[in-house]
């Protein structure tokens, strides 16, 4: 359990087994041949440089980017910034990444409860299938932890579930505005459209891409997950399965944006629009939040391609 955060450190502090995330590590040698480590240590409040002189082989062996280490040592000033000089580092097993990486503002349990409610509201056969896949003990904890993207929007712990629920709310509302839409199919597709991201990203250290994410991507992974669940549960017939897979496969809207097929049913067209709308709105808000200036205009946003204007309430 983490109690001391980087933002509270000052020069002269002594650290006794304080855990930090190792964001980056370089192995160097002094002129007289002694090994040392240059470290970047972080938690959700900030980042500090670090150095470990005369690193013992037992430590050298396991230290790598993405691990969480309990650090013993001292805090000093170096080139106008904090530096942690470590004298011992031990690996933490099973850390709560929410302490080390930026997190959603919504409490995790509140979001999980909302997910349960949405699934309960589905008609069969959709309810059974979605329950089988998402409310699985091997899956739900990761689903509730993942970011929704590496950097564009919802790029924080819990962002994937937050984005999924935000879209589910939109889907529920819009299905009423456009009554030709099959609400249960749309909602099932919405809840599962990005679930492949659980296998696409890694959240050790900085958010990165997994082997699965690089070679297959979250759309193909989600398709495989649905197929496996359907062949296990026999919940859907061929046509229902195809309609659901179409929602997932087409939700990026265009082939050039990574969908192997484009939306061809009314639910698929709407799901893509909801995804676009929620990503753009949350991407706007995230960019403004992260922008450290205090003027009316942010720096250039990668998503929008230009500077954006801070809303008056922020």
């Amino acid at each position: 359990m983490k109690e001391i955060y980087i933002t509270a450190l000052s020069a002269g502090d002594q650290l006794a087994s304080v855990p930090f995330l190792i964001q980056d590590v370089s192995r160097r040698t002094t002129k007289d041949g002694r090994p040392f480590l240059l470290l970047t240590l972080s938690d959700k409040t900030g980042t500090s440089g670090g150095v470990f002189w005369d690193v013992p082989p037992a430590v050298d062996e396991w230290v790598s980017a993405g691990r969480v280490a309990a650090v013993t040592g001292r805090v000093s000033d170096y080139k106008d910034a904090l530096q942690i000089t470590a004298t011992m580092m031990l690996p933490e097993s099973n850390p709560d990444m929410g302490d080390y990486l930026p997190s959603s503002d919504r409490p995790k349990m509140e979001m999980i409860s909302e997910l349960y409610d949405f699934i309960a509201s589905l008609a069969e056969p959709w309810r059974g299938l979605v329950d089988h896949i998402l409310l699985n003990d091997d899956f739900l904890p990761s689903f509730a932890t993942m970011p929704a993207a590496k950097g564009m929007h919802h790029a924080y712990i819990g962002g994937l579930l937050e984005h999924t629920l935000s879209m589910a709310n939109l889907a529920d509302t819009l299905a009423k505005q456009y009554p030709l839409v099959n609400r249960d199919l749309l909602l099932a597709g919405t809840l599962m459209h990005d679930m492949g991201k659980v296998h696409e990203y890694t959240i050790a250290g900085e958010f990165g891409f997994s082997e699965d994410g690089r070679l297959l991507g979250h759309i193909v992974r989600a398709i495989l997950m649905v197929e496996t669940a359907v062949s296990t549960t026999k919940a859907l017939n061929d046509e229902q399965s195809r309609e659901l897979l179409h929602l997932i496969a087409s939700h990026h809207g265009k082939q050039e944006w990574g969908s192997p097929v484009e939306p061809k049913t009314i639910e698929a067209v709407l799901l893509h629009q909801i995804d676009l709308l929620d990503s753009r709105m949350q991407g706007f808000i995230d960019h403004v939040k992260k922008d450290t200036g205090d003027g009316d205009w942010t720096k250039k946003s990668y998503m929008f391609g230009h500077e954006i204007k801070r809303p008056s309430g922020m």
Copy 2:
């Protein structure tokens, strides 16, 4: 007042001053030198060929595409289709174009009433300005008649107002989901974003483009309308005016889609997304409705670039 519609005609009927829209007219001469007219006549229920032999100069003079003519003559069969052989045609003044062109399914008065309600719900200074522009007697009748597009979506009498109200409903709902959004600014921009189309299209005959639409387009025209209203009413200060003009100028979302600036405020981003969402959904439904086949798949849609699948309820 039109009482007889094309869909009800059959070979042998006699017509006495029945009004039709002249969609197209060609002037021809018989081998022995007598002038005649080849006509395409239509109303909101269908289209018929027509011919007027030995056309008198007084008729020849005024007949042109887009006029409504009261036709006297006879209905016959020609090449498996109806043909109207006219013996007299007189120009109708001030016809209700709703009889001749496809119309929205929503009653006009119901839509106007809903527009009044939305405007009444606005805070000042937005309410005064929108009222001044839209509820003007010179403007409202056209605003309630125009289509929203030439062919892609809402391409029928009343389509512009129907699209505007559908978007206003979305704006109202979504402003709650994203509380940073200034709901009154968003709604004012939504109600006025496409109002320049009243000057962009012509609805005589087939929907076409006016001189104003060709040289300036509806975005520039709406900008000029706001500017004129602001300088008359002094309703807005410079900053409010700029924010509102930005909504209108940027609502197409990208320069390549005709917006001179891209959305840079949260309301502008949301307005563009709402416009996209409603256009795509209604464009989907319109394409399925117009598609005459009875299979599950329509012909290729110009908007989507491929065939789309008929929703099960249609």
Copy 3:
């Protein structure tokens, strides 16, 4: 068994139960209200117009595009072209579509034998998996019949297998030129990369797209086929499965060409290049073959975007 072909018909011939493919059918009514059918009848040698006057309800019921019908009637001349006037039509069950649609120049059995040899040459675990999927009795007949595309290249009966084998030969040769390539993985991916097309196209009547082809496409379908086979046979471990799925998912080379991921392994880069090379070369040859002119230059090719020059040997 079909014995009489369109190319051999002449005006005056009597037809007794001669089978033809119904490419197109329109239901019409004479001026005095009697129903008749306008038909386009075809086989692999050509196309003829057809008409069936006073069509009995029992015939009217089943006649549709894509069916093969045994036609009794008479051949005549109409507007400088042959026309078949039918007096009876009966449905053929289980016709050999190779009689009615253009076919590969290579004998089917020779191609199947070559496929067996390629699979036999694979090391495990690839051999077992490819055998399980492709040499399956429910699959192989269709795999040996399908075209490789609707119109661009190899668009004829057997074209899919012909294209697959041509690519397998290239893969075998090029794996030697680039020794870093895993030959067995490459060849397994080559043999299966387009197998999803068996479910993508329909070959009744003209080549068309199936429901599966429209909603999922052949890449997603092939991914599902591999997944099902892997979970049945346990032939591959996770990493092998991912490498193989990557080959299939990325073989179009770019997202804008329909691949959800781009090639990232050396085998995937080579597979895409082989596919491109063979499609372009066969597409060139097919376009020249189909071009009916006798000059040096063909009409504009859709694949190449311009006219192409006939090779001297054709």
Copy 4:
């Protein structure tokens, strides 16, 4: 009035109230807690680092990027470059930005005189309108000061007027080569096409974008300026106004380059071509001038996308 320029400074010089532009300022604290400023000071001849130790609150308060400050202090060498150590800084009111930013080679008065001549050569109603807008005392000084762009071409004080006059000369000449062109309409449009840039840029510190420039851009601003002037002066009828607004709205040539409509009249086509031609030619010359190498080839030009060759006379 500025008399001492950066290019003439050397280590050891004493400065007494010498004015410089503050291009950038960072507020820092020494290890023992005393505030100091790191400055970038500049004038039209160059740039120097600066530092102000123990900055008094009265100075700290007003110092910001874009202000001109009269600096008292001393010049020294720091890391092979000049550094100004300030002991006092006072704000300059109403500085002539031409002393601090790069300027056009053409004398301002000569350019204004040429502008008068062009306007005098116009036929009515164009002369009255252009005179009303451009020769206005509130507008002309800014119009004669602004750059024509932030970095691509004519990016210096007076560049906007220089570019406008260069294009007016081309318009005058080319109207003779293409006699169908309405010379007075073309020239009026040319003189006003970029005038919205007076409100688009800010020239405090570095050239930047104003609130108006970000939310509306110079095309929309110029459209509003014409509309206001027309409604005040009644100089133009509706058709003339539309033709002129079309020139301004379409002068970027394509929607993707920021024009809400594309050129549709012969004058609009020519105006866009003249703008393109003059921008490219001056952008070529500006890039070569700014390029500090002495070889035949410059560094890569952003406008052209590659290196360009120095003309032999430069």
Copy 5:
């Protein structure tokens, strides 16, 4: 020498050896097996259908599209249009294509004289080289006859020279406005930039592409022409030759528009701009001229991508 033109024919006229261009010919057979020709005959004033019954083998042999034939026969009416029924056709040798295809409004001799003047105004070494290539007896007649394009602009007999001279005038004028430009190099490049089109097009029948035009294109052909002339005359040194070849190679401005290199010298940038400007202006005028409607707006222009507005003087 052609004296009778299509525009003057009427039903009943007898034709005795009147020459027409054969634009198109189809070989057909009557139901009783007699061969006949369906013809499209034309001259610069218009087009007429034609038929030649019982065509003798000696005529059948040489008749082909692009030949000029002296036709004996009779004019009649067929389906409201003229038809020429030929009884004899003899090939014309060496016809003046200006009689059969649309021509420039400028007299050929006047244009050639202007070309001589431009060349005379060049400094050496440019004058000698341009004279050697363009004023060559084998080349000049074709250079003065060719169109400048197949359809976009200057698509008529003499159009290539007319476009070249129009651009030379612009080059001469603009070299004064931008004094860094080497006027003689620019003018030499302008006069020769499109000369490869003499080998690119064929003007028999309709304008088409030659073997050279298809396989190499006019840019490569012009490069080869310069290279041959330089190696014959030794007029230019390596650097001069490279500068001139660069002008020709880069004049389309972008690789995607067919230039193997992009403009990198000031003369090359200006030449491309002049080409663009003159093509657009003349393309605008040509489109309006060819447009047969009488309203203010033309049909959609392929060059501009939309309808354009007729200038008031046309």
Copy 6:
């Protein structure tokens, strides 16, 4: 002859006339006004910083990037890296650039021998022409030394010939798979398609572009080389020459990739595909080789636009 390489240096070594390539040189002055040189010295094994204090004018005069210098001096450590402090530098004449720049793994003589074999295998007239151009004593040494590209693939000494031979092997093999292809024409085109690069690049210092490469590029240069050889040897007739030039001109495949014409013959289509295939495969391998990480995934590749996966054998 170079015997000592950078990879073998260590602090304290004395250097006596050891040759290095001067990759970069900056001229600086100490605070007390003495000139010195900051150098980047390299050979094919690595790079070292260098400094030359109190540089004598005779040395200062000739030192420039791209020259090879015999350096006398001493090796030391500076900021954790090697630095060579020179006391004398003398220019090397005629160095073997293979000692200083990365080179192909294939021995030069083996590649030249393979080139001879390919040319010997050609039928006339191709053999004579290719021999005349490539086996020329003025050309072959450069052809065997050049890289095939600046950075994308085969970017090392001998890379051009290595790429040419790899493609020739592919051409030879594939001509058998597609028998309509004229093998001798294809092979001649393959051997010469990139030969213009001998004039496009410079290999002094880093690989760069020559004046010829910038203004004309290797495609135009190769076209000129063929033209000159054909006019000297009369080896080809017009049609053969055109077919060969077409191969060279079109081998980039698309205009936007720098080909003035697109491939229109079967040999041109195949040549482009072979070029693409070999460039991508070698580009993949080169990127993995240069990537210094040791994980499974490389850094982002410029050619592929994303990270690529290291083949298991590397």
